[in-house]
Amino acid sequence: MVESRIDEVLERHPGAGRDALIPILQEVQEAEGYLSREAIVRVADHLSLPPSKVFGVATFYNQFRFQGRGTYHVQVCRGTACHVRGSAAVLDSIRRALKIEPGETTRDGMFSLEVVACIGACGLAPVIAINGEFHAGVTPDKVNAILNSCKRRSAA
């Protein structure tokens, strides 16, 4: 199953060279939601590159994830307006609450965390988005309530 999705991407790039690395990684992530170990090894093989190189390039860019997304994908805006209004503290409290770092997913697969530059809702700063749904004026003490409501929705 998983294999075939990687295959599909690679088949679209026959005989590709190293310049196709990033587009291929993007397509694999599009198809699978993240870059698995297996995907990186397969892409490396396809392009005749060492896996260390592919992993090196992939980890250089923020856009690539190495764990699948959680049921709830939490995006924390770290743009200028949000920063001024305290997004660093918001991010910190989410990290503590979920015990994960940006780019990671909780073990139960419920939450994943991502830091984004600016999601274009400066008027609502500091803002976070969960599965695309915006939460405005978030402060550290509101974080738990927001996350708990996600958990409740899941349990229901």
């Binding site: 170990r37 990186i40 090894v41 490396a44 060492p50 896996p51 260390s52 190189k53 592919v54 992993f55 090196g56 980890t59 250089f60 860019y61």
Partner: protein, 572 residues
Amino acid sequence: MTITVNDKAIEAKPGEMLLTALRRAGIRVPTLCAMEGLLPTGACRMCVVEVEGMRGLVPSCAFPVREGMKVQTHSQRAVRARKTIVELLLANHPDDCLYCSRNGNCQLQELAAELGVRQRRYQGARNPMRLDMSSPSIVRDPEKCILCGKCVRVCEEVQSVAAIDFVGRGSKTRVAPAFNAGLNVSSCVDCGQCILACPTGALTERSHFKDVFDAIRNPKKVVVVQHAPAVSVTIGEMFGARPGVDVAGVLNAALRRLGFDYVFDTSFAADLTIMEEANELVDRVKNGGVLPLMTSCCPAWVDFAEQEFPDLLPHLSSCKSPQQMLGAVLKSHFANRLGVAPGDVFVVSVMPCTAKKFEASSPERRNEGQPDVDAVLTTRELARIIRMRGLDLRDMVAELPDTPFGERSSAGKLFGASGGVLEAALRTAHHMLTGKELDAAKVKEIRGLQGVKEARVKIGGAELGVAAVSGLANARRLMQEVRAGRRDLAVIEVMACPGGCVNGGGQPIGADLDAVRARMKALYDIDRDSDLRTSHANELVKRLYDENLGAPGSEKAHHLLHTAYAPRQAEV
């Protein structure tokens, strides 16, 4: 062309980089990332200088010379910039120099001293990172890494192994195998060239000190040491001798003083290897076996072949390396002679190599459950032990190695240089095929530091194509040619380290190409001045066959001295 540096005119060649011209003129500009023979990356910025007419400082390693340019290499601005760079590097560097294996031999430490860094001006956040002890040969301490990238480049560009690369970005950047995995599951072949490249203690060998000392202290163990051909022409450097002085005699003496019960020269086993390998070559030539025959004494190359060229494994000589052969003989024939159990003979080898640690510990290279070799010390480790014990090689009297393996031919000694194994094998194969000696001058083409050397050698009526390559990127290219159907070669010698074992990953850190050249020359000088220049003329090797092994290629020889290879896939 002429350029002006520090108000003095110096010569420069059109097209070269400023740093090259400065170095030739004897002007020392510090560098952390520059690598001899490779393109500059301009990563570390230590080599910045002031060039008149340029607004900012320029990295001299990546700045081409221009007619009439005026350069200041040690202006206040340049020196201050270098000092700041070092201070910034130190901001998140561990402060445990006293406990570091590179204490006293660290480029970062030297620069901090040279530039007068006396206080911590920048306090950077530390990135706690785990020590990677997974490899049998190499220890990686990413916290001590300054991200100069030399290990990454040598691994990729010189060795074409690319086991490690930069991972992540910004202050979180580190050098690691894919997926931050351990070196043991990576494509690393343990050659140790990264250790030679590393300016700090981020990459070091895995030490076998304790095992060696424990064995020496254990009264039940007969502790035997062997030293490889390249060691005796190198270790003097670590005690103030100029490069290329052979200290084999005092090395024997020093090893005895350290408490080893018996001292042997691995070159004896190299003669034994040649008997087996030449026999194998003759057999393959005569009987239409798989050609070209490829040498198998370099464990990093064997590892590389198992990983990258599994289809070519039948080409590899089935001979164990000299280290393993001597170990096998010591734990059988020699143990019997002494009347002790093979398990009570503890074999230590001193090697210019880190991959030998991997080879010795590898489960595939065991004999009836026993490792042939129990512990491996690099040239560097041995020098440290000698110093620790307060011995000075300079005031020691030369001694001979022990019987019954106390004589070596100079052909065996050549194993330390790229092309040397091939030359030694050709001498003996020639004798086996024609009954006459080969004129040594005929294989001049396979001597020297070049990475790829080829020759055609007449043996009797036939002419054999031979090649010696060093540096695994060179080996990879030649293997691709063989895979693609190249058929004019009968023997290929491969050594993973550029120039061979004289430039091995276990050799002194900080040596330049001239030192490597001097070590190589020392081996050929030994050969030139030797009365015993062929392995087949070594009486003690003959006696070992007469008393114990039978003939080269016999069943007993196969059992003890040969091995098998299997494809291996690196996980990452």
